[in-house]
Every structure is written in C-alpha cells, then in structure tokens.
Subunit: 376 residues, 2 copies
C-alpha cells in the first residue's frame, strides 16, 4: 500500500547495482540520498550549532524521543513549534520511537502486548510507552518523520525470540499507523536479526502497510559485524525500492559504504560525534587519535584535503592535542564538525558516484576510512 | 621615557572627563579603546573559535604565560609562529607574565630577589620564573604585548609588605625591559594595593621607564570592592595619559563602567566566560540564571535586544535551560558568546559615548548590568 502523507515524496534519480541516489522531500525541504543523519539526542547535536551541522552537509537530524519525552517533556517542545523551533534546526528532522532507549537505559521494565512499562533513568518516574503513546509524543515533537514503536531483540537472540519480536512489531506497526498524525510521515521497522528469511518476510509484510519509508532496525546491537553486512547485503535491495530504506544506528564509514552498495538510503549514528568527544578524528586515510604522543609536534591539520572548519581554520594536530589534554571544550566542537564533515563527504561522494555509475571508485576512495589504521 | 617599540602606538582620540577613547596600534592591527580582552588561558577562549571571539568585538585576547609555559611549552607555540598561529587568532594578543598564576596555583613556592621558585601544579616539576625567564617565555609565545614580572601582594596586605612588593616590582621592571624582545611591546605593572599614595608614586616611577603601556595590577585580589573603585578613581587618570592604561583582571560590567569613567583603557577578566559555564547569562537588565525554574517555559531569548548568535539564533531561555540541565555542551558556547558580546557592547558604547561627550548616558545605560538583579 502506497504512503499517503501530504508533503512527502521519494524518488530515485540514479541506480548503480543495488545502490541508488534519490531525493526525499519533506515539508522542510529536499534531502538528497544516500544521507547521513547526525544524532541530536537531547535537542542538540552535541557541541554544534544548527548552522554548523548543516555546514557538514546534513539535511536531517535525528532526535531521541525517549530523552525528550523525559526531559524537558514533549509539551514544552510543542510550545516552541516542535523540535525544529526548539532546537533551531531549519531542515528535516526524524525522531525515533523511544523504544530502543526505553529498553536499554531505563529501569524496572516490563514488556507486554500493550507496550513497555519502565521507570525513568533520571528520576525513577513510572512511564508507559505504547505504540499510541510513541505516536502521541512524536506528534508533539513534530519531526517530519516519526518511527513506529518496535521490538528490538538482542543481537544474538534465538530465532524464536526474533520471530516473536517481529510479529509484535507488525501488530504495533498497525497501531502506530492508526494513531499517527495525518501530516507526519512514519517509517516502519523491519526486524529479524541476522536471519535473512525472517528479514525478507518482515520486509514484505511491512511493505504492505502505508509507511512512508522502511527501516532496518535491530542491527549493530551486538551481532558479529560480518553477519550484519551479510544480512544487509542480502535484504536491503529487496525492500520496496519505491520507498526510502533506512539502516538504523549504523555505523562506521566502512558500514556506510557497504550498506550504500547494498541499497540503503539513510543512516544515523552517534559514532562521529562520540568519537570526536573521545579525541578521535576520522579521515579517509585512517584515524588521528589526538592523545597519542606522535602528534605532539605535528603542525599539520587533521587532514589537509578536508574542507571542515577545523582543517581549513589552520588548527594543527599539535594544537588540537594540546586542547584535548588540557580539557579545553573547543577541541570537542572542532573534531565533531570534522567527523560529521567526513560523513557528509562520504554520502555526497556516494551520490555523485552512483549518478556517474562508478561504485568501484567510491568504495576504493573510502576503503581506509574508519579503520583502525592511523593516519600518517 | 617614551616607549620605542616599532609598530606600536597609542593615540587618544576623545576625552570626556577622565574617560578617554583612543586607538592602540600593534603589528596585528588597530584596537579601539576602551577595550575588553577575553581570556584565552590555555590557548583558547574557552568553548569559542577565534572567529566567534572576534565577532563579539574583541580585538585583543589574553594568553596565560604560566599555563602555556607548563603545557604545551613555549617552544611548541613558537614553532607555530607564536600564539597567533597556534590558536588561529589574527588580531592582537597580550600575555601576562605568569607570576600571578605561579603564585596562586603552584606548589612549594619560594620568592627571592632573583624570582619565584615553584613546582608545577600539573606534575610537580620544579620551575623558576625570573624577570628574564618571563620575558624569554613571552618572547617565544610572541604576543604583541608582554607584561613585566611583578609582585602582587594579597588584597589586604600590610602597608610595608605592599611597599616592599612595589619596590621589587620596579627592580624587576628594569630587568624585564633589559631582556625584552626588541619587537615586542611590554607594559609595566603599578602596584600599591589600595594605598593611593603608594599607587601614585609607583605610577610615576614606572612612568619614567620606556614601557609601551602601564597596568594597574593587584586589584580584585580580595580587597573590598569599594576600596578598589576608590583607588582606581583616584589613581587611573594620573597614570601617564599618553600611554594605554590597563586594569588587570577586572571585572564586572559595573567595575568596567566605573573604571572607564576613571580613565582606564583596557580590561581583561574571566568573568563573562566563567559565568557562562556556570549557566549565568549577563544582560543590561540583570542576570538570567538558567537553572532557575522561572525560565522553564520561557520562550523568549536571553535578551531580545542582543545581537549575539544565541539571542539572534532564536534559542529560547527554556531551550537553553534544558541544555544546561541536560549537560549539553552547546549551551556553554552560546552563553559564552552572549556574555562576551555584552562586554563588547559595553566598551563599544563607552567609545561612542566618550566621543559624543555623553558619559552620563553611558553610565545610566549600564547601571543594571552585572548586578545580582534577575532579568525580567
């Protein structure tokens, strides 16, 4: 069944193998795909202003419903005209359902067919997250794209547990669609762990529902990385080609490259900003781990070919290392902008390479990015 | 004796009462005075980029010699072409002598006529700061303006201790001038506590030496605030009018207003950036203390009349409060830029008001700034 949300569309503009480039349109503008969505957990992409985030090429920011629901509360966000007004972000936004964090961060959970009961990790307050509540809260947050509430089993859960999660996810998918805001897009979430057959049948099942996009959830949750790559490679290109395909919570540059080749359009991950705060700058040539003594007198920027404000600003590795060791907050911003720029460049190169029919050039250019190799 | 450092000049362009507006010229450009110098302790004005600092109107940044001497070491800074290249700051810079921090932060100090012996607060390493070493380190840091090494007695030290400090400061003044870089300006530091006669005689004594500027040191070190204001009012306008007068480590907006009226040209203080990191935004109408519950649903910016990126960016007090409580680093930057913009506006208004001969309008406009009153 085709999605019907007004103001939303997705069109594929180029295909190369299973990879595709396209444009996702929301009421907040066009999003060229493949796209990487920086994570703004609590209403801010950590350390950066909206302008700086947009300057990395990002056109969608992800907000975490669980965090914003607990603090400051969705009503206050709604009073600002939604998350766009609250955080000052003019482009598109997506919120997750809150289920993943409710399960992983909260205390005293109990899951039933009705939803998750849990206690807030902040103050112990008892909360209940049902499909209807997930849509109500996301409706107040007012992102362009909401996610259905799903059940995400652990990475190496037994097949019958994965199957049960998948079935409940489908039932919750119908409840989410029945209670969604008419003007808000909603994506369904395909589960199935690393079982290709379960993934494919769930993809077909959710494809029958009028979701505006389809996500692959339940990856990068503890399973071996090669199992994830194998499953994504087998499944992604068989998810409805007319809707955007979103691989949730993934990943490293290497994960993005492999998944784009497999046919994925959208990604989100805390890795670029979290690694930045740990003093790790990512480059196409490997990492720069700022605390290492080798950079103590290194007058070069992180990456001479990088267009980010940190590399263009003339800040040397020695200076950044000094700031990191001296616990100066400026370095966290500079490296966050650098790492997100790398992700922005990766997806921009993917779009251009797909349009040019040159996937092998794309994969070759990014072969060393995000590996454990140190940048020379 | 007139200063002789090439590339430096100071001219007074307007006088109004004791207050004056002028232009300090260094090899890195013109600095309109009165000026406020943000503090970049460890090679960074905390949380902000050089561009953001300049956008607040600042044209001089202060670096702390003690901190940079200990870490990363002045040789590394020199390898970057000095502090300008290290920190990416294109305008003028000033470094303090390191004496104040060596005295207040380090361990196991011993002061003799030769200098300060102390152990680093970072690693216990034994260091020795003499007038010659202060000039050598500042020469490597390469700021436009260096400060002489001085003796700063505690705020309410007995008169004989203040007198002895002052005499040694004069002897160290001569040693600093004898060992300074020929192309680096040096300011002398007038001591004397809150003893007007000691301050005046020391001002006259140091005025005989070829310093490029004269500072009032040893204020805001524990003495009653009214004693400071009284002393500055009595002394500042009697310091050589042909050289810039710099009140070190001061202060609140109220302190700046009173001291500008008294004839001071230059200020530095950590207050605007430190208060920002404590969640206190300063405005002309009083403070906004972000953690207060009164701002929980306040959709207004900190100050609707403020041109800073935080107030112009549409960030509400409720949003900033949320970020502060959620420990999101973005808020520290936004409020730091806001507070430094307030200081930039204060000194810009001083310059315009002095030129217009309207000191009373200036003092009236800033009467509520920096007080403990809460902004409505």
């Amino acid at each position: 069944m085709r999605p019907q949300t007004p103001g939303y569309s997705f069109r594929v503009t180029s295909v190369c193998g299973h990879a595709r480039a396209g444009v996702l349109t929301t009421p907040h503008g066009d999003v060229p795909t493949p796209t990487f969505m920086p994570v703004g957990t609590q209403g801010s992409v950590k350390t950066l202003t909206p302008t700086e985030v947009a300057d990395t090429g990002a056109r969608v920011v992800l907000g975490n419903t669980y965090h914003l629901w607990l603090r400051p509360g969705p009503e206050l966000v709604a009073a600002h005209g939604g998350l766009h007004g609250f955080a000052g972000w003019p482009h598109s936004m997506l919120t997750d359902s809150g289920g993943f964090q409710a399960f992983s961060l909260s205390e005293r959970q109990k899951t039933t067919e009705e939803g998750f009961a849990f206690s807030s990790h902040l103050d112990g307050k008892k909360m209940f997250l049902s499909p209807e509540e997930a849509m109500r809260v996301q409706g107040l947050l007012g992102a362009d794209i909401a996610m259905q509430l799903d059940i995400c089993p652990p990475g190496q859960a037994p097949r019958d547990e994965v199957g049960a999660a998948l079935e409940r996810t489908t039932r919750w998918a119908r409840r989410c669609l029945a209670s969604k805001r008419a003007d808000q897009a909603v994506f369904g979430i395909i589960q199935g762990g690393t079982h290709e057959d379960l993934r494919l049948s769930h993809a077909a099942e959710l494809g029958e529902l009028p979701f505006d996009g389809l996500a692959l959830g339940g990856f990068s949750v503890g399973e071996p990385i090669d199992d994830m790559h194998r499953t994504v490679a087998a499944v992604a290109h068989r998810v409805d080609p007319e809707r955007p395909r979103y691989l949730m919570g993934v990943g490293t540059p290497r994960d993005l490259v492999a998944s784009i080749v497999a046919g994925v359009d959208m990604f989100d991950c805390v890795l670029p900003t979290r690694n930045a705060r740990n003093g790790q700058a990512l480059t196409r040539f490997g990492r720069v781990v700022l605390k290492q003594a080798r950079y103590r007198e290194d007058l070069r920027p992180i990456d001479e070919s990088c267009p980010c404000p940190c590399c263009r600003g003339g800040f040397s590795r020695a200076y950044l290392r000094h700031l990191y060791i001296a616990k100066e907050l400026l370095v966290l911003r500079l490296v966050s902008a650098h790492n997100l720029t790398l992700y922005g460049q990766l997806v921009a190169d993917a779009r251009a390479s797909i349009a040019a029919g040159d996937l092998s050039g794309f994969t070759a250019r990014w072969a060393a990015a995000g590996t454990d190799r140190e940048h020379a």
